[in-house]
């Protein structure tokens, strides 16, 4: 009997602090996001008026929101495509080929992942600067002045420049992840296939890719979620959504409405839509890419 009490006390002491912190700072605010999206609440007055789905109806007619939607989808597609191709390619090279300095390259490629997004924003502001930037001056060295651009000033280009910084940031991270899943493919598969005369490219498409497919599928979800999040952090620190809203993304628009403009209700409605969007997109992608899991 005493033992039972002791056990209960032990469990309570160990889990209660975690449960309290989780509820107070994650679960309650999440519920608040959904609740507040149904209210009209502006400014610092405590005046909340229940308006039902009015915020969502307003959102439907908000051109700025659709612009941020367009930018976010563009970034998700472009960043995922480039990052995935590059990181799978480099992971294959580093894990399949016996190279000098293998470890060195892995260490270098992972560096962007440990930097603060604010630092990355600073680095790329220096890279993209129109007159004293690294990129434009590099192009000048190679006599390619025609390719010089206002990387962050041109409304058509700015969003791709943001995408470039995001790819730079992510390649090493996903590469390390694919490498750890490639490491578990038995070497004998490659030996057997090369005895039958399969080249490197055939090996990649008929051994490596099918066997890491499940890992790739998982990372697709990460790509969607992390692009939505990181693009916000980067845009916020680098362009603030400008020039003229051309780099506004989902969450930066939400933050602008909810925090800077103090239209809390409307901002939270945007948050709800993004949340549901990212879930739906992840679910669709994971259904579409479903293949039979290969056992080995």
């Amino acid at each position: 009997m005493n033992k039972k009490k002791e056990r209960r006390f032990f469990i309570f002491v160990c889990t209660a602090p975690a449960l309290i912190l989780l509820s107070l700072f994650i679960l309650v605010p999440t519920v608040e996001v959904f609740r507040m999206s149904l209210y009209k609440w502006g400014g610092f007055s405590n005046n909340q008026v229940f308006v039902g789905l009015e915020n969502f109806r307003k959102l439907w007619n908000d051109l700025n929101f659709f612009r941020s939607l367009q930018n976010s989808i563009l970034l998700i597609v472009v960043v995922t495509l480039f990052t995935m191709v590059l990181s799978v390619l480099f992971a294959t090279l580093l894990s399949r080929e016996k190279l000098k300095g293998n470890n060195f390259f892995r260490i270098i490629f992972y560096i962007p992942n440990i930097l603060s997004i604010v630092v990355i924003a600073g680095i790329f502001s220096a890279v993209y600067d129109p007159s004293t930037g690294l990129l434009n001056n590099l192009l000048a060295v190679f006599k390619l002045e025609s390719l010089q651009k206002m990387w962050l000033g041109d409304q058509k280009i700015a969003i791709y420049s943001i995408g470039g910084a995001l790819v730079w940031q992510a390649v090493g991270y996903y590469m390390v992840m694919y490498m750890s899943s490639m490491a578990s493919i038995p070497e004998s598969f490659y030996e057997a296939s090369s005895l039958e005369g399969a080249g490197r490219i055939t090996q990649f498409f008929s051994i490596t890719l099918p066997l890491i497919w499940n890992n790739i599928r998982t990372t697709l979800t990460f790509f969607i979620i992390s692009t939505i999040n990181l693009s916000f952090l980067l845009v916020q620190a680098m362009t603030g959504g400008g020039p003229d809203g051309s780099t506004e993304v989902f969450l930066s628009y939400m933050y602008k409405q909810a925090y800077t403009n103090s239209s809390y209700g409307y901002g939270m409605a945007i948050g709800v839509v993004i949340f549901l969007f990212s879930f739906a997109l992840s679910a669709i992608i994971s259904q579409v890419t479903k293949r039979e899991v290969l056992e080995y």
Partner: protein
Amino acid sequence: MKKFKDMSADTVYRLFIYVALITLAISIVIPVAWVFLASIKQNAEFYGSPWVMPKGFYFQNFIDAFEKANMGSYMLNSIMVTALALLILLVVAVPASYVLARYTFRGSKLMNTLFKAGLFINVNYIVVPIFLMLLKGDTFLRGQFGDGFLLDNLFILAVIYAATALPFTIYLMSSYFQTLPSTFEEAAFIDGAGYFKTMIKVMIPMARPSIIAVILFNFLSFWNEYIIALTLIPGPNKTLPVGLMNLMAAQKSAANYGQMYAGMVLVMLPTLILYILVQKKLTQGMSLGGLKD
């Protein structure tokens, strides 16, 4: 003859691989290294080509960043918040992970589900509600005691950092605890050790690898974080990344380039040093825990 031809094709292929690898390596190293070089340049040097080496070692930038731009006190704030948040996180998360991994009790299933659900909620969505909650709390406190202390408070910031890191940390550590054999606990119980003693003396030391991974990952994310700090600390007690953001914004009008790059070095140097020391653990830890962000 055939053999010779094969070999040359192979050489070309290897050459191509090295070119690809070196290109990516350069495109990562050069911008980072450039910031380090820029941090010791004098302001006048920024008006020419950015590819010119610094003329000398202009350390004044760092002194200016520390004193004029307040980066010194921001750095102290960052060190304090990061250390405190890590401490809170470990004290709260380690016992919870252990219990969730090892004990079934009434509500344990629900608790596991709640923590798993927490994995799907990114802090960017909830930072404004957290801000409003603290604001409301402050208004209430001001009404009661004449003063509010929830916003602009580094301790509260550390608590919130720890809270937002909880779901991932508990996920990582409880899956590690599950892999440990239960014979050790049984032996400890037979020897008469109580629940607490068994956990602290036997199980937690065995979970060291996962604790180290948790410290590494979260050190990086707490040190680098800026959106929560920006939202919850509107006053002068900023953390280092937020201070750097201010420097970057100020630089647009005042053109204090050297100071800004010195500030960037201050933010990234600790993480780079840590990374060089423990890079193997970090990239291995990733396969251990799966994922972050």
